[in-house]
Structures are given as C-alpha cells and as structure tokens.
C-alpha cells in the first residue's frame, strides 16, 4: 500500500513553482509528442493536479525527470492523441523565436514533427528540458549511448530540414555571429 502523503500548503506551493518555472519545456515536450498544444496543455494540467492529489511528487528523487515521465505517460495514454499524422497548427506557436523570426519557428516545429518520435523526445528533453543523457536513458528505458546517438541523429535531421533550401552553414554561421556580437 502506498504511504499517504498529507497535502500541505508547502507541497502545493512547491508544485506550483515546478509547474510555472520549467513548465515551458514540459509543455513543449507534451506538444512535441502529441502535435497539439491544446492537448499538451491539458495533459500538463492533468499531471500537476494528480501530483497535488496523490502527493506522489514528494516521493520522487529526481522531480524534474519524474514530471517529464508523468507528462509522457499522460500524453501517450490520452486516447485523443493516438491519431497519427496530426496536421501542424500554424497559429499555435511552441516557441518564442529569436529576432521574431516566426517563419523559422514554424520551420522548427515542422521539422520537429517530421522526426521519428524517439528522436523527437530526446532532442526536446536534452535541448530544452536540460536533462542529461543519463536521465533521458532512465526516463525512456534506453541506454545513455542510445539516447546520445538519437540526439545526434535528431540534430542532423533538424538542421537539414530547417536549412535545406539555403546554404545552411553560411546562415547558421551568420546567426551565431550575430548572437555573439
């Protein structure tokens, strides 16, 4: 039997902080899995409400990774999200793009959705969720090396997809230079 955890104001406040601060990466993760930001938002709220109700978060050792795992389960178990090839919703952005480059934001979203799911998960978890490959391996039930190699494949595909029609290396170098300036 699972030990009962009292719901205290402190627990709720802690959950609220976890919901708001790194919540953007979790929402992105849910959106990347489901393809729909609205469903992702629902899944995220569902996860946090459950965490408040059953107090399971206080028992987790790595809360950050645990919440990503909960979000993943919520999205995967959601019957509505079982549809494949969900069309990209142009109006609902996932990112706040640099230099208000909304075309690039849309390209990135499209490129992410074109990735195989296992690569998409890893790239979002590592690049924006800031989980280590070890944590990602634990979360997805794969080895550290598998997680790392999926990330590399995903990066290469994203780069090709985003800069396919242009001289990608030149453009990338220009963007990097403008950032460093």
């Amino acid at each position: 039997m699972r030990p009962r955890v009292d719901r205290t104001d402190r627990n709720t406040a802690e959950i609220e902080v976890l919901y708001r601060q790194p919540g953007a990466a979790r929402l992105l993760f849910a959106a990347a899995l489901s393809g729909d930001r609205g469903c992702a938002q629902d899944a995220l709220q569902q996860v946090f409400l459950k965490a408040i109700e059953n107090g399971s978060l206080s028992q987790a050792i790595n809360k950050k990774a645990y919440l990503f795992a909960c979000v993943r389960n919520a999205v995967v178990n959601d019957a509505k999200l079982q549809k494949q090839n969900m069309p990209l919703d142009i109006d609902s952005a996932w990112f706040s793009p640099p230099d208000r480059d909304y075309a690039a934001e849309q390209n990135l979203r499209r490129a992410l959705l074109d990735l195989p799911q296992e690569q998409r998960e890893v790239v979002v978890l590592h690049a924006w969720g800031e989980l280590t490959f070890s944590e990602i391996g634990d979360l997805l039930g794969v080895s550290l090396n598998t997680a790392a190699s999926r990330y590399r494949y995903a990066l290469a595909k994203l780069r090709d997809a985003m800069f396919a029609k242009e001289n990608s290396l030149c453009r990338l170098a220009m963007r990097s230079n403008s950032q460093s300036i």
Binding site: D9, T12, A13, I15, E16, Y19, R20, G23, A24, A25, R26, L27, L28, Q41, L44, Q45, F48, L49, I52, A93, W94, F95, S96, P97, P98, A104, E105, L108, A127, W128, R152, L155, A156, L158, R159, L169, L172, A173, R175, S176, Q179
Partner: protein
C-alpha cells in the same frame, strides 16, 4: 563526440524559447485564496464581526419601549381604518361618541311640525300654497 556544427546548431536551437504554459486554474485560484488569508486578515475579519455585533446590540438596547396599551390602541385604530363604513358602525359610532349631543340628534330626527315663526307671521311657502288652493 559532437562536431562544431552540431554544437553551433544546438546553441541556435536553444535561442528558441518554449512558450510557458497557461496558469492552471486550480493551482492559481486555490492557492491564491489560501495564501491571501494571512493572520492579519483573519484578525481584521474577527474585529469587524465583533464591531458589527456590538453596534447591533447597542441599537437594540437603545430602542424606545412601547407599552402594550398604547400599542393595542394604535392597532385598533389602524384596524378600524380599514373596516368598511356601514350604517351599523355609523350608529354605533354616534352612540358612543363622547362629543355628541344626543338631544340635538333627536331634535333633528323627530322635529315637530309646529311653525317656528312668531304669532301672526307666516312663511312665504305657506302663503303661496294657500293661494294655489
């Protein structure tokens, strides 16, 4: 090992900041209401209740006490005002009215047919009635 291109591209990707989720309604409403009730707020609420109670008690205690008799008369008057005015009630009122001179009423009701004029004088109506005959 990640190549330089990969690293650069990863840095570029991180410049896209994921959009934050909307605040969860349950978290926002529930916690905000619970947190806003600080001990000071509770104290102020209790003080307000006590003050209102004291004011109500003060108003009640300073109210003028009306005796039963006066209240009954007022009630009867109020009630009488709404009863229909009939001959019976009018007679009863006349009979019991303290300022009424009963003799005067009787005089009006049963006036004798004797002429009120002095001896040798007649009313114009009487003269005219005789002439017609």
């Amino acid at each position: 090992m990640p190549t330089r291109d990969e690293e650069q591209f990863a840095v570029y990707l991180k410049r896209f900041h994921p959009i934050a989720p909307e605040p969860a309604p349950t978290l926002r409403v529930g916690d905000a209401s619970r947190r806003s009730l600080s001990p000071g707020t509770w104290l102020a609420a209790v003080a307000a209740v006590v003050l209102i109670g004291a004011a109500i008690f003060d108003i009640r205690s300073s109210r003028v006490v009306v005796s039963n008799t006066v209240r009954d008369v007022a009630y009867a008057e109020r009630r009488a005002r709404f009863e229909p005015f009939t001959m019976r009630s009018a007679n009863a009122g006349l009979a019991t009215a303290p300022s009424l001179d009963k003799a005067a009423v009787d005089d009006l009701a049963f006036r004798s047919p004797t002429s009120p004029f002095p001896q040798g004088k007649q009313s114009a109506v009487a003269v005219l009635s005789k002439e017609k005959k």
